[in-house]
Subunit: 336 residues, 4 copies
């Protein structure tokens, strides 16, 4: 494809405007159409981007000149809309989670392969330079053995009625964990509580066991006084605190650790060290900009996206297991 990709956007609620702004700003893309069931939201994209607008997304999909669509609608509609878009032959970027079940996710993957069209999931943090740096450090074994990782992602945020904090917030941390560890968890347990809506957990605590005894823990909530976006990676030789809202110090690498130092007779000592803290310079670019650019590049050059359908499916499989644990009052559930 030599021309810029012609992109349509379905869903202009909370997140859609960010996608619109980024696609509009990319030289290799044209944001030509926006659909939202709520007509009052459509004035803005019409004015800012001269986009054609629709209240029925089927009409948007009917436009044969569109190469690709981005979908930022409520999670429960992802599957249906993504399927319709693929069936119309559009390349698809769908917000996380890819779907509400692994069966649905697999159907989308199959459909995308048959057409064939690009199917990409909006796991934004996989396009975040700070997360790239963490993965690089783990791969280089700069931390020694990774012991455990915990994440806090809380806010007085958007209370959802249709999906719980697990499906709404935790996909971010799950996708980061899968990406930086390069592995799937073996099992998951989760506990949560519902305060505002029956059957919709406002807060969840998720514990995951990865290979090599790496433990991970996620706290996700939309009932919290402060906005926290933090992940701590504890290794035997170094430790990282990743704070996504600290613009001066996104990553702090602590030269700290404790490890066993064995002797020949089965005895061992604990070696503790505590040295400098390093805050590496990270050339930050807007992760969503990177994500949109990557999608456009995949569309124009026929590449497979980093967060393809398989990647989205893996996240959904973890969510499914965590949901089952939630419903079993925290029992540990294997990830199939």
């Amino acid at each position: 494809m030599n021309k810029p990709a012609r992109v349509g956007l379905i869903g202009y609620g909370y997140w859609g405007p960010n996608l619109a702004r980024n696609f509009h700003a990319l030289p290799d893309a044209h944001l030509v159409a926006v659909a939202d069931a709520d007509a009052t939201r459509l004035d803005e994209p019409a004015r800012l981007y001269q986009a054609r607008t629709y209240t029925d997304y089927h009409e948007l999909l009917a436009d044969p000149t569109l190469d690709a669509v981005a979908i930022s609608t409520p999670a429960r509609t992802h599957f249906e809309i993504a399927r319709a878009a693929l069936e119309r032959g559009k390349h698809v970027l769908v917000e996380k989670p890819l779907a509400m079940s692994s069966a649905e996710a697999r159907e989308l993957i199959t459909l995308a392969e048959q057409k064939p069209r690009v199917l990409m999931v909006g796991h934004t943090f996989v396009y975040n330079p700070a997360v790239w740096k963490i993965r690089e450090l783990i791969e280089q074994r700069a931390l020694g053995d990774v012991y455990y990782i915990y994440a806090n992602r809380v806010n007085l945020g958007r209370v959802q009625r249709d999906i719980n904090a697990l499906w709404s917030i935790a996909p971010h941390d799950i996708s980061i964990l899968l990406y930086v560890l390069g592995a799937m968890p073996l099992d998951v347990s989760a506990r949560g509580a519902t305060y505002l809506n029956a059957n919709v957990e406002d807060v969840v605590f998720v514990t995951l066991t990865f290979p090599n005894q790496v433990l991970a823990h996620i706290h996700a909530s939309w009932l919290d006084p402060s906005k926290v976006r933090q992940m701590t990676i504890v290794g035997s030789e170094k430790m990282i605190v990743y704070d996504d809202v600290d613009t001066e110090a996104r990553l702090r690498i602590y030269d700290k650790g404790v490890y066993r130092h064995g002797s020949e007779y089965g005895e061992f000592q604990l070696k503790v060290h505590s040295g400098d803290i390093n805050i590496p310079k990270i050339e930050m670019s807007e992760p969503l900009r990177n994500e949109c650019a990557h999608f456009v590049e995949c569309v124009r050059e026929g590449k497979r996206p980093r967060t393809d359908g398989e990647n989205g499916l893996r996240v959904v499989r973890v969510l499914e297991a965590a949901q089952e644990s939630l419903e079993k009052n925290g029992a540990t559930v294997p990830v199939r």
Copy 2:
């Protein structure tokens, strides 16, 4: 008792020096003796406080002029030493946890009643003015309904070989939860991992269910890059962040909340509000000073301490249930 209480201290390792300094500074107490099995530790209390010193605590207990002893030895020795002290007719302040089982704790309670002597547990946070303020706000229903509470107590701290992070660190948070909620949890689940010593968890995540659907969560670890001492209390109308290492803002009270607003037809709306943050002036006194003074007052005036044996037993019962859950891979265990 008109004279100052004559106090002996058993255990002068990590925490003992703090007890010694505080008892020495109290006008109503005399720190007259210190015992520690490691003779090299005894020069300091001899020099700083002119205390008599012993390597065998039985000799210290044999001194008939001693009114009371404080015990800050490894947790697994608390029961034996406290029992010996009570049997010698001493009033006893024992560091947390009171004992390693509820059976042991009950035996100490019974013995203290028979003598009768004061039995107090060193749950320091119950003597912390910031914790008093949290309890007061919850009692006054200033937060509306309490939804959930989570605590982080992590550090690159003292790695223990004989007890895990649950028994070593979590007693602080459990005692705070029991104190501010005025209730026992109904059930507990816990997961953790061992990295440094077989069978000794370096990190644990504990989830507790209290009456009225109040969920609580504790993260305790001695493998962490930063010292964190934080607890967040989320209510329907206000929320509190308690940061014990932030001297300017120990408590932040957020005028934030979300609550259901019902209509007559079963419908409801979610009301979200987000107002000022208030950092109340708290007249801070050193909690350990308060604790030591309270012990001396109970000894001299025959009062029952705020953190008496029953209080210590309640904490041990929660720890026992959490330990059982740890061993059952996170299964939810009722608190008996």
Copy 3:
């Protein structure tokens, strides 16, 4: 004027893109043209806003359909371009400082009155809700007597070659001081140093005396490791820390103070108090958005802007006196 105002922008370097984005987003304005001497900068506004573009601003001014222009060019060109725009009958928003001398500033004011056209200076902080709150608190005497104010505005920022840190950075703080105190300083002293370019101060320290013995101090620098945007207002009864980069706590109002408490015999005591800290909820809107909207409103409704030419002149008069002090090695210079 019933139609949206037709706006042209001159200068698309560091700040111009922000003005463009905001004018484009305002429903009552059309950004129709952008000029910049550097042609490589003009692709972006053409693509994002479909603006006509010029490398010669005179051509932009020659467009008779333009109602107004915003000028964000180097400070030394403000006067000439603003004069040309007013002479062409355009309403003018010019970035700070209004001009490089009070004589030039007065000439622009006179010209704007003759035409008559709106002349507004881009003192953005006068459109910042946090600054409004400070002014309101001072006016209500909530702080008691204002004792002194100090500001730090430092960064490893844009090193300028044509103007020094005084003229480049300090106008922000001077405009805030004039606005919140509602008064002009009586005298000024300033010291600075040049490291990178001869005769261009990279760092300046400015001290200003306002009526009622209110002292103010400004530290401005583009050679600093951290971005700091902070102002502290010390009153006899309350004190405010305004941190423009702390999104959770832009203003902290400390219920702290010391004041003299006199007796009838000339004796007095010092009363010290230290109470709560309050972080008021401030409904934040982007100050530059407010500024642009205010300019458009003034243009369309013939209103006088809050930061009109006279306001810009007052800031220039303070800058002139500070510059004179700099050149006299810190001697105190009255503000004429």
Copy 4:
């Protein structure tokens, strides 16, 4: 001297208790006597340290068994008491400032040389490992050229009636500057304001010019909402922020800088770089403990202290020049 040094303390007000605690804890010293004109303050040292106590310091000095005295009385009494102590043949540690004039300081130096006895000034920061690290980095030219240094030392602190914020607070920063730069300033200017007591500045801003065009600036105040103890050192290649109240990150070393890169034809470019931030591990020991131990070592081994009388005199000379500038409304005054 083989025995521990026998130390007396004169002045048990704000700072004296810290000196007492530290001398008591040193194995090579005995705190044997404490004097304070206010008898109510003397119970504590008698109880905690079994010190003999006096309300008249002359009686303390009359004790022939005392080797040394530490003086922590109001600044205006330092000269007289230090002189009396030296005349009695005692080694002397006097709190900063050494005296209220350079004439007085010189008299003490002469007297100490005649006796001869140790004369040391309590410039605590010269005994602070973080300050040692700064000096080391500057000496190694790790920062490139030092451009400028600024310090904030403010608090809602002890309002003084007899000396102003310059003499009370700024000696800390002046002693640090002299120590890390290894040089005296060439000239000083200062402005301040009096709010609470006539003729006693509650806040001062001091600007100092050091050789090689190094500019330094000090903001000292006891009227401030927050406790700030911060110094920033800006170099051409690196920059340091030293925050004495940030226990995790006392020093942040920013790999940031701007410097001129000249060509052979007199042209030059500005090279800007912005890299990692490093927080070096500093083995912290209590600076006052180090100071007291150094004094005891000098007394026992006849060594010359690092902050001897000459050092104290240099600080007083800077204070005198700054005071003269204050009285001349900020005129620049050479340091003689």
